[in-house]
């Protein structure tokens, strides 16, 4: 089962996790990325490339399934404006084995950061600024090459 969604609405990581748990696998690893409250940011806005986004996340999940024994993979990414504390992205990997679920989950979020066409703008009160890509993100993603 691959479940890939791009949506403006807030998602329920809990319900997504529950769906994977119902699948009969032994191990589920998940990652949630949220708008941090500790850096003066009041809101963020996610722009994306609609014609490409779904296919690029689908390709990511498919590549994960080709690398690991992964009956289930979920990627949900929001677009549009989000307030502090709200979840932005959720990825999860379900496998018969713990090591594979953990690795696949890290792979999905590391590669999403460098391969999927999303751009983040941070609001600090009235001022807004595009987020710069981080060299450390490229380094982490390259570990999976």
């Amino acid at each position: 089962m691959i479940d890939v969604r791009i949506q403006a609405e807030r998602f329920d990581s809990a319900a997504l996790l529950a769906a994977l748990e119902a699948d009969g696998v032994g191990a589920i690893a998940s990652f949630t990325g949220l708008v941090r409250s500790d850096v003066g940011v009041t809101a963020i806005e996610l722009e994306h490339y609609p014609a490409m986004t779904q296919a690029s996340l689908q390709a990511l999940a498919t590549e994960a399934q080709s690398r690991w024994n992964l009956p289930g993979a979920i990627i949900v990414h929001r677009v549009g404006k989000m307030m502090v504390g709200e979840p932005i992205v959720f990825v999860a990997a379900a496998s018969p084995h713990r090591a594979e679920a953990l690795a696949a989950c890290a792979f999905l979020i590391d590669r999403l950061k460098t391969d999927a066409p999303f751009w983040k703008k941070e609001y600090r009160g009235e001022s807004a600024a595009w987020v710069e890509a981080k060299a450390s993100d490229n380094a982490r993603a390259a570990n999976w090459d």
Partner: protein, 83 residues
């Protein structure tokens, strides 16, 4: 003719979501960008730091040396920052 689409900082610098442009036979993305940068100040500003530009041809990420023959859509954007 090719449809160009812009995103994020590049889109804001150029001031439009996209545009249709002529492409000479044998043109690469780099060639086309050089030409557009000469034609307008906005393109020149948007494309100033080439190391901060990324490209997709027909929704696949590619390098700047990719030829545009047969391409329908070229996307130009900064490094992605999702997640």
């Amino acid at each position: 003719m090719i449809q160009i689409v812009y995103f994020a900082r590049v889109r804001e610098a150029i001031g439009v979501d996209g545009e249709q442009v002529e492409v000479e036979a044998g043109s690469s993305i780099a060639t086309l960008i050089d030409r557009l940068a000469q034609e307008s100040d906005r393109h020149s500003a948007a494309f100033q730091d080439r190391s901060k530009l990324r490209f997709a041809v027909d929704q696949k990420m590619v390098g700047a040396d990719t030829l545009l023959d047969n391409a329908k859509e070229l996307a130009i954007f900064p490094p992605v920052t999702g997640g």
